[in-house]
Amino acid sequence: MRAFGYTVAGSPAEAVRIAASTPESTFVAGGTDLLNLMRDGAEAHDHLVDVNRLGIDGVAVDSRRLRVGGSARMRQVAEHPRVRREFPVLSEALLASASPQVRNMASIGGNLLQRTRCGYFRDAASACNKRVPGSGCPAITGHNRGHAILGGGDHCIATHPSDLAVALIALDATVHLLGPGGERAVPIADFYLLPGSTPDRETVMRPGELITWVDVPRTALAGRSRYLKLRDRATFEFAVVSVAAALRTSGRVVQDVRLAFGGVGTRPWRDTQVEAALRGRPLTGQAIAEAGRLLVRDAEPYEGNRFKVELVQRALVSILSDLGGLR
């Protein structure tokens, strides 16, 4: 790891200003991902701007929304009583992430911007289009158990690892950004990019932009949400497949439903067609099975991750059956 400079910023505006005027700089919050990436040679920065003391670390719920600061800790959000009650999928997704120690350190902004766990990406001596554009994607012919079956292509098939992002997508959250060009808000469904031929670009963020807040609308649907995470060991491990779901039914009929998936897509995955297929229909095993088949209609599995095609459909059945009281 190269030596780097370090400045603690005191406000969002100051953080953005320092970053804009310091070449090869980036923000650091908990450092739980960034420092590993720098040590492994997957990223290099000459200067880090500490964003832990910007006053954007609150968690607040009012009548319309939940507002979470970009520097709020994962633990703070996960354990907030109103988040637990009114946005259970967020709390469950966070509590299923990493370990208590990491959650004490790690921020919400950092969580949304963590990089893929693809082993080739994190190994500076391997080829990888995401790390070195044009160098190739060894995962396609190599180890790809952890990789995506949806949204990939010849350039990159890495999954985005955040559980929180999956949950936020199911709840129609909005990400607020502050950058040299001012403030803007991006619906989280539009926040992450497909890899296409530029897998090094993962989000719509522009250089020097800071995540200040994440807003989640407070709806009845959010209160009826859950997170299901399947993985290779009991805790402290990323998802093989995960599903965030929110469901509102009247009688047996689906009034509204939100679904998002982790571990299967090159970005936290939402497919509105799948939701549309369920909306207005009675929630039956058959309806869920059809929705599941729709979800994987364009799946492109590889040798190591073929099982995800089946597993994600079963995960969908399981979570909707639970939420809909089918068992």
């Binding site: 001596a125 993985r231 060991r233 805790t235 093989v240 995960a315």
Partner: protein, 725 residues
């Protein structure tokens, strides 16, 4: 006697370890030390063509960058150096992650960054990385450490042909890594031609011998110091290139050098458990008596080494069977050489114990009953029919089965449900060989009445300090706190490796012998000392307790170790020796799994073990070993897996965030029972080696429980969720 041996005495070094007072190898601050960092090859096969060290040398703090052109020529030591080449002696590259340059800098960070700046140009050849691609090239390697790779008794082929019932299956396990928490580390200090190494090693004597040989030095001019290890699991048993290269770098630089391997570097520097395929055929009578075992295994070896570390000992010896043929084949890949890893025999034992379960279903005989029918009291490989002395395996089956409630098990697979989970019960025998390494210890009782034991064996984390302290304190009749044990230094008498389950059977006897001799010597001084109240008491009439010496018949006639030795004027010093014989220890594991097959979810929910380890020296440390063994067994069965890229032969998951090992939530509490009876052949204390036995049966027991739960027979570990769907 104070009856200390056998008690669950708390670790004497526990406080030092948890408070950070214990100095591990890399904790040593050596004046003027330079920090080393290795530059590793980024091809798996080929030649180094050119190394450009310019940018690295220009980096702040960098003192030197050595390449093969600079390194002194070293002599290739035999085992314990288990590679057949020393890196940086020539341009050849044998595997990914092989040292090609050695950077020295003032700080670790400077050395690390400079290592990134070294540019190496290679002529690369295409590596072979996958065993499956070259299985047809499997061959029978030469003997390794005097052990042949083929063994037979009777006529296994004919017996298999004629068997009433046959099982013919293939089992497999992937490459796995030891992953001790403390990384490998060496600090090399040359002083007037002698070399001191602060090392994390499971064998200071082994390491010293290998290093002395490589540098063409007498053993007396090398000293290796390793008082504590943060785990080893076999990875620190052999001596590895980084140790030799660090000593060489320190010699070239004329300054002490400290090297700590990075976690990723440990995946190519210190061996691993070789990928392994196991074709196993069992023949049996309808009554379940084994008549034939044909066992052909294939393990990864390299182009330059053909050592097989995962022995088929359990197939050869565990059950009574007149006709056995074992062949251990190798397949050459462009990977680092493998090595011993945590209970090496687990690999073959997993196949055997799974096959036994399959046979039990084939025959409709309970798996415990099947094992009892094939139980043997004689060593199956001994031509003279040598009987095992005091083998308590049958008692282990009985005790563990009863504690587990095995009698309530309905054998039918896939019928026991609890909510949305299927419940399965499985069992397996546990066994491992243990070695014995001739060992001596030095014991001194000073004028302060305190005893100090010295031995060049190690504390690998299992409790060696504690148990030896107990043995000596009990033997002398002293309080535990009056005995200090010093380990891990070649300045002490040569003693066992901390590997091959050999420490306790090798060193406990000498420690007990030393205590007896020292006690006798002090008693002899006392009864001959006109100033002692014990003057004239017959030596055999003197008892020792709690640091005191008494006349048996008249407890008012008493003296103390302290007074006797003080009056004597100098310490009483003795050397303890006691040869022992190698052998086996045994046990049984019973466990429960709960599975949601729809989602591929599995939990191990209950584990009961019973072990026969001869005499239990410390119930607490023995139990710790069982918990550790079971935990690693769960890792072996459910998740551990080193992934090698099929095209480049480079490890893809060289870190603990992607190489999964069990966490607490994967590991239920373990009920560990012991059949605590002295081993008649285990001299003096009746101990057996036990380190590697617990856990050997766990992978098969989990697979057997999965079959019982959902009726699916899994034969390839790890049993990841996709295999349960």
């Amino acid at each position: 006697m104070s009856g200390l041996v056998g008690q669950g005495v708390a670790r004497v070094d526990g406080r030092a370890k948890v408070t950070g007072a214990a100095r591990y190898a890399a904790d040593n601050e050596v004046a003027g030390v330079l920090h080393g960092f290795l530059v590793m090859s980024t091809i798996a096969r080929g030649e180094v063509v050119e190394i450009d060290t310019g940018a690295a040398l220009a980096h702040p703090g960098v003192v030197a960058v050595y390449t093969h052109a600079d390194m002194p020529r070293l002599k290739l030591p035999d085992f314990p150096f288990n590679r057949r080449f020393i890196p940086m002696q020539d341009t050849r590259v044998h595997h990914h992650g092989q040292p090609v340059a050695y950077v020295l800098a003032q700080t670790l960070e400077q050395a690390q960054e400079a290592a990134n700046l070294v540019k190496v140009r290679y002529r690369a050849e295409h590596p072979v990385a996958r065993m499956a691609d070259v299985l047809d090239e499997a061959f029978l390697p030469e003997k390794f450490r005097n052990r042949p790779n083929e063994a037979a008794r009777g006529d296994a082929a004919a017996a298999l042909e004629q068997a009433e019932v046959r099982i013919d299956q293939t089992y497999s396990s992937p490459m796995q890594h030891h992953n001790p928490i403390e990384p490998h580390t060496t600090t090399a200090v040359w002083e007037d031609g002698t070399l001191i190494l602060y090392e994390s090693t499971q064998g200071v004597v082994f390491a010293r011998n290998a290093v002395a040989f490589a540098f063409g030095k007498g053993r007396e001019s090398v000293r290796v110091i390793s008082p504590y290890l943060g785990g080893g699991f076999g990875a620190k048993g052999p001596t590895y290139p980084h140790t030799l290269l660090t000593a060489a770098a320190a010699q070239l630089a004329g300054r002490p050098v400290k090297l700590v391997l990075s976690r990723a570097q440990m995946y190519t520097s210190n061996g691993h458990r070789a990928e392994y395929r196991h074709h196993l055929r069992l023949g049996a009578t309808r009554q379940g008596m084994l008549t034939a075992i044909v066992d052909t295994s294939t393990a990864q070896v390299t182009r330059v080494e053909e050592n097989i570390y995962n022995g088929s000992d359990s197939t050869l010896r565990l059950y009574a069977c007149p006709n056995v043929h074992v062949r251990q084949l190798g397949v050459r890949l462009d990977l680092p050489t493998s090595s011993y890893m945590r209970s090496p025999e687990t690999t073959a034992h997993f196949g055997l114990e799974t096959a036994m379960d399959e046979l039990s279903y084939e025959l409709g005989i309970d798996p415990v009953e099947l094992r009892i029918r094939n139980h043997t009291e004689v060593d199956q490989q001994s031509e003279t029919g040598q009987a095992y002395a005091g083998k308590q395996l049958l008692e282990c089956y009985r005790a563990a089965a009863e504690a587990f409630g095995w009698a309530r098990r309905s054998p039918r697979p896939g019928v026991t449900r609890d909510g949305d989970e299927y419940v399965g019960w499985g069992m397996a025998t546990e066994t491992h060989t243990y070695g014995v390494i001739p060992s001596q210890v030095h014991l001194a009782i000073g004028p302060d009445g305190r005893a100090t034991l010295r031995a060049a064996t190690q504390e690998i984390g299992t409790g060696t300090y504690t148990v030896l302290t107990q043995v000596v304190a009990e033997g002398l009749g002293m309080p535990l706190g009056h005995v200090t044990t010093l380990l891990g230094d070649t300045a002490y008498p040569e003693a066992s490796l901390s590997a091959g389950s050999s420490t306790m059977p090798s060193v406990a006897g000498p420690a007990a012998d030393a205590a007896r001799r020292a006690r006798d010597a002090v008693i002899a001084l006392a009864v001959a000392d006109p100033r002692s109240p014990l003057l004239g008491v017959p030596a055999e009439e003197v008892v020792t307790e709690n640091g005191h010496l008494f006349a048996r018949g008249d407890r008012d006639r008493r003296d103390t170790y302290r007074n006797v030795v003080t009056r004597h004027g100098s310490a009483v010093e003795v050397t303890g020796r006691q040869d022992n014989t190698a052998g086996h220890s045994f046990g049984a594991v019973f466990l429960e799994v709960r599975i949601q097959p729809r989602l591929g979810r599995l939990r191990v929910t209950r584990v009961v073990t019973a072990h026969d380890l001869g005499r239990v020296l410390n119930r607490r440390t023995a139990r710790g070993q069982v918990i550790g063994g079971v935990t690693w067994g769960i890792g072996f069965a459910l998740m551990e897996h080193t992934m090698v890229d099929p095209n480049t032969a480079r490890v893809v998951n060289p870190n603990l965030s992607t190489y999964l090992v069990p966490v607490c939530a994967d590991t239920p509490s373990v009920e560990a029972l012991f059949v605590d009876r002295s081993e008649p052949d285990g001299k003096l204390l009746g101990v057996r080696g036990f380190g590697e036995t617990p856990g050997t049966g766990v992978p098969a027991a989990i697979g057997n429980a999965i079959y019982h739960a959902i009726g699916r027979r899994l034969r390839d570990v790890p049993f990841t969720p996709d295999k349960l769907l």
